[in-house]
Subunit: 151 residues, 4 copies
């Protein structure tokens, strides 16, 4: 995997400030665990209020943390005045999402001027190790010229 | 689009009972609005607690209601003893998800014995009409032989 | 579905000229059957040289005509000096692709300044009607400023 | 990445025999370069007859070799009497596909009894190294009970 040099040395506070505005993260209880150039980890303690019909974490909640992991991984490499928007993403569910804690790890596959492609994987953190529960590939857009989008 | 004949005449209470077990739906405030053979509508009032960094509904929350719309659309056509699981889905974001209310409309494109393909669209319900904000295509699996999966 | 007004009244010859440069279309025997604002049909007679291991049309060849149907559907709505590139696409295979002839029907779902989202469906044309064999949703980019991309 | 133990020790001749039936591979000039448990490499020399409108390799031809790389990666781990079919795949295009030679490298992410998830990457082989031109994630199905599907 490529090593990335961020255009903005202050990428970490910029990412953390933007993440803090994602109210949905507080609602589901997700936290930004790691910020590095082109890489983001988001952690989510499991809770009964986020389940699908069999008691597993709902795939849409996995998609929520994976999408933000992709978006902020791309955002680490963008210039200070840019905003990031998701164009599309796909998620494959690999195993039932049970366990006490999940982590979504996103990374940039290709950083473009306008379009970045990112990949993210979700793992259930179990007593005996990690279980790979989902994988995502998504397209993220760098938006520069729209005043209504901040951060 | 094909018209579907459900294998189980009591598909509607079966869908409603399973949907009621999806605790995440109550958490985000989503409700099952319509159940028909091969078709599901899920409604979601917008709320500040579900936002991404610009104040729009987070794409993962759109994915949550679209995924359930796809899954339950497939579930309407499954036999009474089956469970439904998402194999994968992809979502394309078409426009910023703002507005007071959203609806996710899912429908079966192809119903197979083991695998069904579904499509779902999300609309923001605005004073002057509907705005198409996202489209999903997903693969849903019919699971018959696993006792731990109910409904 | 929305009706589209092309930015360039001469969209049809522009599409046909570009399609004629896609040498792969002649190689597989595909032809541009219909060009309308935001809509493209591409036809492909089946031939033994395009098969996968069971004798069905290879999914990648379906993807080839579906991707071009998406790309040119978007291209009908672009300005005269633009080029179109595929950002990503996903295809779901719905039924075995057998039959003497296939058609890929693409249409624009959302036309944006830089990014368009398109959908395309492939049908096998059988004596007793059409069989829906695949569905695609893809993201197409409008490129204006790169001299090396023509048409 | 997990190491896989094939259910069928004779997986390699089984894969090579099935690949040889994919007539489209001879048509486009692709060859099976490497067969290992859960991993497949397919090589494709570039040729003018496979181009899109700007002279790059058409995305659908990239999809063709990536899909077969995914399918046969899954097939290496299947029992001798099984057939493999593609359920769906998504491809993200990362860079223009030019160069004299391409390789598609597929690998199994999760091997299930019925459903396997695979990833594949395509690289242009250039004088100064490899250029990553596309990435795919796909779902492959193991089919056991259909006599009309062989290999």
């Amino acid at each position: 995997m490529a090593a990335f040099t961020p255009a903005d040395a202050a990428f970490e506070p910029r990412v953390r400030e933007s993440f803090a505005k994602q109210t949905v993260m507080a609602t589901i209880g997700a936290a930004l665990a790691r910020v590095a150039p082109g890489e983001i980890d988001i952690e989510l303690p499991n809770r009964p209020a986020l389940a699908q019909q069999h008691g597993f974490l709902h795939a849409g909640i996995l998609a929520t943390i994976l999408d933000s992991a992709c978006g902020y991984a791309a955002f680490t490499l963008m210039p200070p005045d840019a905003a990031v928007l998701s164009v599309e993403f796909k998620i494959n569910l690999l195993a039932p999402a049970d366990g006490e804690r999940f982590v979504a790890r996103g990374r940039v596959v290709r950083a473009g001027r306008n379009i970045s492609v990112c990949q993210a994987d979700a793992f259930a953190l179990l007593p005996d190790g990690e279980k790979h529960v989902a994988t995502m590939v998504g397209t993220m857009m760098c938006v520069r010229d729209r005043a209504e989008l901040r951060g």
